[in-house]
């Protein structure tokens, strides 16, 4: 009576490849595939395709030009979940999240030690997540004096106009050269804002 199976996800365009991939495994092999499998396959499709650049390797470089990945998977029957945060040097973030779900009692592994878990336990391969495009994006940002910039508060040098390294402002620091950056340049210009 219900129009099942069903897959639904954020965004359109290149993201529909993930919708279709997840739906087709549920539709074609329902006896061999779980909803959890479908979500993993769908998200992995977007990771491989890089979708619009906000998923997978080679996108959203940080201040140091590094791409790191976040992923979560959750079972609606058990309410168990597995996740990785700030995963470095491993492309299949949703696959590592699935390992956390399937083979640990934890909910979230982070950073280099999540990478170690992926390599040692899951046999994942470490590789550079940067691409020519992501490095160019980062270099363009640096060439634009690191603008826009997520730093905020009283820091030196002024993150609203200069690249770092940054440090908290101290009373002994000079007040010359507009060194105080109290705002957040991302908040002041929505057109420049990034997002998850």
């Amino acid at each position: 009576s219900m129009n099942l199976p069903m897959v639904i996800n954020t965004w359109a365009g290149p993201f529909t490849a993930a919708t279709d991939a997840a739906f087709e495994v549920l539709s074609l092999t329902p006896h061999n595939t779980t909803a959890l499998d479908a979500v993993q396959i769908g998200c992995a499709t977007c990771e491989r395709n890089q979708c619009d650049g906000t998923v997978g390797f080679g996108g959203s470089p940080d201040e140091n030009c590094e791409t790191t990945l976040d992923a979560l998977i959750m079972d609606g029957q058990t309410l168990r979940s597995g996740a990785v945060a700030g995963l470095r040097r491993v492309r299949d973030a949703i696959g590592v999240a699935r390992l956390v779900h399937d083979y640990t009692e934890h909910s979230l592994l982070a950073g280099d030690l999540a990478t170690r878990f992926a390599v040692d336990f899951g046999g994942f391969v470490e590789e550079n997540l940067a691409t020519t495009e992501s490095l160019a994006q980062c270099e363009a940002w640096r060439a634009a004096d690191c603008q826009p910039n997520y730093r905020a508060g009283h820091i030196v040098p002024d993150a609203g106009a200069q690249c770092g390294p940054y440090a908290p402002w101290k009373a002994s620091d000079s007040l010359d050269n507009a060194e105080l950056h109290e705002g957040n340049s991302f908040e002041s210009s929505s057109s420049k804002r990034s997002h998850d």
């Binding site: 919708t19 595939t33 998923v55 992923a71 979560l72 990785v84 990034s194």
Partner: protein
């Protein structure tokens, strides 16, 4: 960010999220993607939710947990989504947010703010995914 909810033909559900976060973030920053209830949330007894947007803001509101709990209290998917987004933009009017909400019967809706949010779905005997455009609240 991709955030996805799947419903098996047997009624079981799952959700997941994958993201490379915000561009030019401070190294070490983690967004809302891997946070349960923020990036996504699912309870097969009720429904599921996926989210995208300003992760630093959204993770403070657990919008997907909020949306699923809204449905548990009897709200429709659209009412649940609108309420979850409204709670965020009440405190952060400029926030860019988007959530997609589906109940365990496949009824779905989306809500967003700060941009034109879209989502995609495919169900039953549909031959390909269909896109839905969501006006900003």
């Amino acid at each position: 960010t991709i955030s996805m909810v799947a419903i098996h033909s047997d009624g079981t559900m799952a959700a997941g999220t994958s993201s490379n976060g915000a561009t030019h973030k401070v190294p070490g920053r983690v967004g809302d993607g891997p946070i349960v209830g923020s990036g996504s949330y699912v309870d097969s007894d009720i429904g599921g939710c996926g989210a995208t947007g300003d992760g630093d803001i959204m993770m403070r509101f657990l919008p997907c947990y909020q949306a699923v709990e809204n449905m548990r209290r009897g709200l429709s998917p659209q009412e649940a989504a609108d309420d979850a987004v409204s709670r965020m933009i009440k405190r952060y009017p400029m926030a860019m947010t988007g959530i997609v909400v589906v109940d365990n019967k496949g009824q779905h809706a989306g809500a967003g703010s700060g941009w034109t949010f879209t989502y995609a779905f495919r169900s039953g005997d549909m031959k390909e995914a269909v896109t839905v455009t969501v006006p900003a609240l």
